[in-house]
């Protein structure tokens, strides 16, 4: 269903980036924003790796011992484990220690502003998601000693899905919730759908290199190695860890955008595509996931029913 009305828009800071809330009902925007803020607060408190008082930090510090967790943390954990299972471990929540080892040990704004150059120690093996012992009935998680969880690939997307659904259920109308470009859509949309610019950096200008598409349901997410980058003594690093090496993935694709049934699925697939490299197009096509992949040289490949990129010289498959 589409509506021929103008949408209302609000923007706030969230999860180290920008949150955007769009509603088809202009009068619903303030209430929608309040609901979204509550989800931001709750997910950040449960899942942030950079807040000492977060539940995630408590669980990581207790590695080796069972820890009872909240319902929201349980949901985030199950979402992360499901992502790992569906991607054969390409998106693995036990990469926290590897991220820290590569220097990503603080909020990224601090990392970027400090301009530090890190020395990366010998790569550490990822413990692997199968080592996480999870008792859903008692909501008790036990990490292997030395394991640190990181929900970076799924928690923000989960928050977008939960917030969009909550806004739609409570206020009616159509809504789009975007956290740093990982977006979830619920309800009716403006004519033709929500207009989304897919590009390397979600903070980019409207005319940044990329493509504008319309989205009418589900989720759309973009993973990129071009934004969260920092310097090591002998290489530039980024935040997408390859579970098999414990190091940033050797990305054949600099940016991957995927549309899916929801934002979690989209972000899971986009991150897995960066890790998979050259086999990503076939893998995405096999799952019927519309996607746009950008090589380091800017060549674009579109997958499944993703609309052709008019500015691209790249092929479609």
């Amino acid at each position: 269903m589409t509506l021929g009305i103008a949408a209302a828009r609000a923007e706030v800071a969230a999860f180290g980036g920008t949150a955007v809330v769009l509603t088809t009902e202009p009068g619903a925007l303030d209430d929608a924003l309040a609901i979204v803020r509550e989800h931001i607060r709750a997910v950040d408190k449960a899942c942030s790796r950079f807040r000492p008082d977060s539940e995630l930090c408590r669980v990581n510090e207790a590695a080796g011992r069972p820890v009872e967790v909240s319902a929201l943390f349980a949901r985030a954990l199950e979402t992360a484990l499901r992502a790992a299972e569906l991607t054969d471990g390409d998106v693995d929540p036990t990469c926290g220690d590897a991220l820290i080892a590569t220097g990503y040990d603080r909020d990224f704004d601090e990392l970027r502003l400090s301009g530090v150059t890190v020395t990366v120690p010998r790569p550490r093996p990822i413990p692997g998601w199968r080592t996480v012992r999870w008792d859903p009935a008692r909501r008790v998680v036990t990490l292997q000693r030395g394991t640190r969880l990181d929900f970076g690939a799924t928690a923000k997307a989960l928050a977008a899905d939960l917030a969009a659904r909550d806004v739609h259920d409570k206020l009616g109308g159509g809504v789009l919730v975007s956290f740093s470009g990982d977006l979830s859509v619920r309800g009716p949309t403006p004519d033709g759908g929500w207009r989304v610019r897919v590009t390397d950096d979600h903070r980019g200008a409207d005319d940044s290199p990329g493509q504008t598409v319309t989205v009418r349901d589900g989720g759309l997410a973009t993973s990129s190695t071009t934004v969260r980058r920092w310097n090591a003594s002998d290489a530039a690093l980024h935040h997408i860890i390859h579970p098999r090496t414990g190091l940033p993935a050797q990305a054949g694709w600099r940016t991957v955008s995927v549309a899916a049934i929801d934002c979690v699925t989209a972000n899971t697939a986009a991150t897995a595509a960066i890790v998979r490299g050259e086999s990503a197009p076939g893998w995405l096509a096999a799952h019927g996931l519309p996607a746009r992949l950008v090589r380091a040289d800017g060549t674009v490949v579109t997958i499944a029913s993703w609309p052709a990129d008019p500015d691209s010289g790249g092929g479609a498959s």
Binding site: A137, D161, L183, G204, S305
Partner: protein
């Protein structure tokens, strides 16, 4: 058939009947035991796989994993409507790396 042979045949037949009865008894007892055990331990049989199940609820933490709005198939599923071409007009939001 001489009496000695007849007696041997009778003994064999009686033995076969006893073995057959014992086999049936064991079979029935096995089935009954399995039913009783299943009923008694049914609560221990996993009815959901936490990493695969998806629901649309508010997050109970009781094994209903997933994305909150995801599909029920447990797989990576595309949108109901693929993205459309956006033409050259302005966008409302950006999707990019963060």
């Amino acid at each position: 058939m001489d009496p000695k042979t007849r007696k041997a045949v009778s003994a064999r037949d009686a033995g076969l009947v006893r073995v057959s009865r014992a086999t049936r008894l064991i079979g029935v007892a096995s089935v009954a035991g399995a039913v009783i055990a299943a009923a008694g331990f049914a609560h221990l049989i996993p009815t959901h796989l936490p990493h695969l199940n998806v629901d649309n609820g508010g997050g109970s933490g009781s094994g209903s994993g997933g994305s909150g709005s995801s599909n029920g198939s447990g797989g990576l599923q595309g949108p109901n409507n693929a993205p459309g071409g956006g033409g050259s007009g302005p966008s409302q939001v950006q999707s990019g790396g963060s």
